[in-house]
């Protein structure tokens, strides 16, 4: 099987056990032949112990001891499968407990979100929540699966009603690419195999859609941004004068000879060489990990950013952020936090809360300054020094930040720069 040129697609699944989310993932793994015999044996045994007929597909996604005992998912779990066309990583996020925190985490690196709607219930509050977060995190592709079609007689009318319900409320959100697929995860209709029960549906199966989504343009290739992670200074005679700047290209393309500026100092130079490991290359692009050398000897350290001279981010000390609060301890007014932005780290203060968002109604609430677990709010942030920022809509990597509480070292908030 020649799969060497295949791409990697990361997607997140949102929904709860009731929507059949675990069954759907189990179905994808099972029908794409990604389940091993010993896993199947163990799940078959557990299924019959629980009195299920046949194999309970949902059990393939079972996790920790507590989760199995309580029948819930506590935390994001990652699952893997490969087809002849692509490698897939599923960020399986729980629907109920701490949904915002977990969904935001799973969504942050996803190319696509799969949203499940129960055909019997149509669009419900949870659908709106999930869609809002997918839009907030700027997930490039959204696949809406109307599940349990077997329970509504595979009715085209029900499916059409739900898609128009979805179109109606989602007009308030920023979505680029939305697809709708009628499925039955339990029966296997339109998940991996095309359904015989819905001849009225002309589109592809879920797997087919995931295999063909155009993801090469998901990363910004226009604005070149290279955050320096560390400086390589080999202690060998052969490389005595070598100073390599190691990092992962956040966006854009770099070529040998490009005129670059180093921020925040502003010094300019030209790219002398680009290496991936021992191999020297003429050009490199996001998300490659490389080492750059420059023509001139400039003082550069971790946290600096190498950009193209004619395309620079905006150095800012005060900016607005859409912030998700992720910690049980609420935000302390005017408290200071550590802010991490690319490879840079400074201290930051939440100056004010502009408004909070109700993620069920999408209403803005002004005047409430508190930030508790799972809250989403637009806030004003001030940092001790300038950060080289872009807006999150333009650049996921240079537009995102996290806040860390100095008292506990915990990651307490995630933010998207407006």
């Amino acid at each position: 099987m020649e799969i060497s040129n295949n791409q990697l697609l990361r997607f997140t699944t949102a929904g709860s056990v009731d929507d059949g989310k675990s069954t759907l993932i189990g179905r994808l793994l099972y029908d794409s032949k990604s389940i091993f015999e010993d896993q199947l044996e163990s799940v078959t045994a557990t299924s019959s112990k629980k009195g299920h007929e046949g194999v309970d597909l949902a059990l393939f996604t079972d996790g920790l001891k507590d989760e199995r005992e309580q029948g819930i998912t506590i935390d994001v779990a990652y699952r893997y499968f490969t087809t002849p066309k692509r490698k897939f990583i599923i960020a399986d996020t729980p629907g109920h407990i701490q949904y915002t925190r977990n969904m935001v985490t799973g969504a942050s690196t996803a190319n696509a979100a799969v949203i499940l709607i129960d055909a019997r219930n149509g669009v419900i509050e949870q659908t709106k929540r999930h869609s809002f977060i997918a839009s907030l995190l700027n997930i490039p592709h959204l696949v809406v699966c109307v599940n349990k079609m077997d329970l509504v007689d595979y009715s085209e009318e029900v499916f059409n009603k739900i898609t128009s319900q979805f179109e109606e409320f989602s007009s308030k959100l920023l979505m680029k690419d939305v697809r709708f697929i009628p499925i039955s995860a339990l029966e296997g209709d339109n998940v991996v195999n095309k359904s015989d029960n819905m001849s009225w549906y002309a589109g592809g199966t879920l797997l087919n859609v995931l295999e063909t989504l155009h993801i090469s343009s998901d990363i910004n290739k226009i604005d070149a941004r290279f955050p320096v992670q560390t400086v390589l200074r080999p202690q060998s005679d052969e490389f005595r004068d070598y100073r390599g700047y190691a990092g992962r290209i956040a966006s854009g393309i770099y070529r040998k000879g490009d005129e670059v500026a180093v921020l925040p100092s502003g010094f300019t130079s030209k790219i002398k060489s680009i290496n991936t490991g021992e191999i020297e290359v003429e050009e490199a692009f996001a998300p490659m990990s490389v080492a750059l050398t420059l023509e001139d000897d400039i003082d550069i350290s971790r946290g600096d950013m190498i950009v193209k001279k004619n395309n620079q981010p905006e150095p800012s000390q005060e900016f607005d952020v859409m912030l998700c609060w992720l910690n049980n301890d609420a935000a302390k007014p005017r408290a200071k936090y550590i802010i991490q932005h690319t490879s840079n780290e400074e201290r930051a203060m939440i100056k004010s809360v502009v408004y909070k968002v109700d993620i069920n109604s999408y209403e803005r609430e002004e005047g409430d300054e508190s930030l508790k677990m799972n809250d989403i709010a637009r806030v004003k942030i001030r940092t001790t020094r300038r950060l080289m920022i872009d807006s999150y809509r333009d650049n996921r990597n240079t537009g995102s930040i996290i806040l860390i509480d100095e008292g506990t070292n915990e990651t307490v908030a995630a933010g998207m720069i407006v």
Binding site: F36, I74, R86, T109, L232, T411
Partner: protein, 301 residues
């Protein structure tokens, strides 16, 4: 038309190199946990790429159960010399001699769980603040919940229900005195990815992974190698079989599979048609449904 996207192996490689460089930048004294198995060899190979032309800036830490395949130890020593890195060894035998742990008794006794104490002692004695492991999320259900940067409290324990959220590529490696981190750069790789990459990069691995003739006994549904450490039961029969190992660990519990795959191409081909998970031949994971989770909570790899 030039393509400006990476294939999945290049993307996994780039991600792993990013994580390794973050470890170096964020921690004072990180080490690579080196077992001599393919995953830790892969991590070491990626570290070489990440810091070229500098040397790998990490020492290797081997937790030695004393029940080794001689081939693994020879491979380890050879690699350490080639790379010019420092080797640290934590010895389970010493932990037993010092009375820090008790050897298990009975037919299925192993030194697997004993490694936890030796590992945590080595981390404390060497003032290690980050131990880089070759753990992968596809290996086991408890590992599916791991972070790239995974926090351990001052008892070395993992609290899976209270992990720090990890968003985008922003890794938080902050800790208090006495705590440490585990880092997992190849979290997102599957067994198949590992083999395809080893094949592509032509990475040297111990001969045990290739099919070879060996004296074995059938125990716990796999072929266990005959060695000085294995107590044969009365009714157990020794066979000579052509086998290879899918994972390498303690010689007393690592089962082999019958195979003719004696090249990297044949191994990759065989793995792609394999219908059992690789840890299915490890009796340490067969003890209970939550064997791995329980050990990980206490500080296991």
């Amino acid at each position: 038309m030039k393509k400006y996207y990476l294939n999945y192996l290049d993307e996994l490689e780039s991600e792993a190199i990013y994580v390794l460089r973050e470890v170096w930048a964020q921690f004072e004294n990180p080490v690579i946990l080196f077992s001599g198995g393919k995953d830790s060899i892969l991590v070491t190979h990626l570290a070489k790429k990440a810091f070229y032309p500098s040397k790998i800036p990490f020492s290797l830490l081997h937790v030695d159960t004393g029940h080794n395949f001689p081939e693994t130890i020879a491979f380890r020593d050879d690699l350490v010399e080639k790379l010019g890195v420092k080797l640290l060894v934590g010895s389970v035998q010493e932990s037993i001699d010092e009375g820090r742990v008790q050897e298990e008794k009975g037919k299925n006794a192993t030194r697997n769980a004993l490694q936890i104490t030796t590992l945590l002692d080595a981390i404390e004695d060497n003032k290690i603040d980050c131990a880089i492991g070759g753990g992968r999320r596809d290996e086991e259900k408890a590992r599916a919940k791991e972070r790239f940067f995974s926090h351990r409290d001052d008892f070395g324990q993992w609290d899976p229900k209270n992990q720090r959220p990890e968003l985008w590529n922003l890794l938080n490696g902050k800790y208090f005195e006495g705590e440490h981190f585990r880092a997992f750069p190849i979290s997102n790789w599957t067994e198949m990815d590992v083999w395809n990459y080893i094949k592509r990069e032509n990475i040297q691995i111990p001969s045990l992974y290739f099919a070879h003739q060996r004296e074995v006994v059938w125990r716990n549904s796999s072929w266990i190698p005959v060695s000085d450490f294995l107590k044969l039961e009365e009714n157990e029969e020794v066979f000579s079989k052509k086998i290879r190992f899918r994972t390498l660990g303690d010689i007393t519990i690592t089962g082999g599979i019958e195979s003719d795959a004696d090249t990297l191409e044949k191994i990759a081909e065989e793995v792609s048609t394999m219908r059992k998970t690789e840890r299915g031949d490890r009796s340490d994971d067969k003890r209970s449904e939550t064997a791995m989770e329980d050990r990980k909570k206490q500080g296991y790899f």
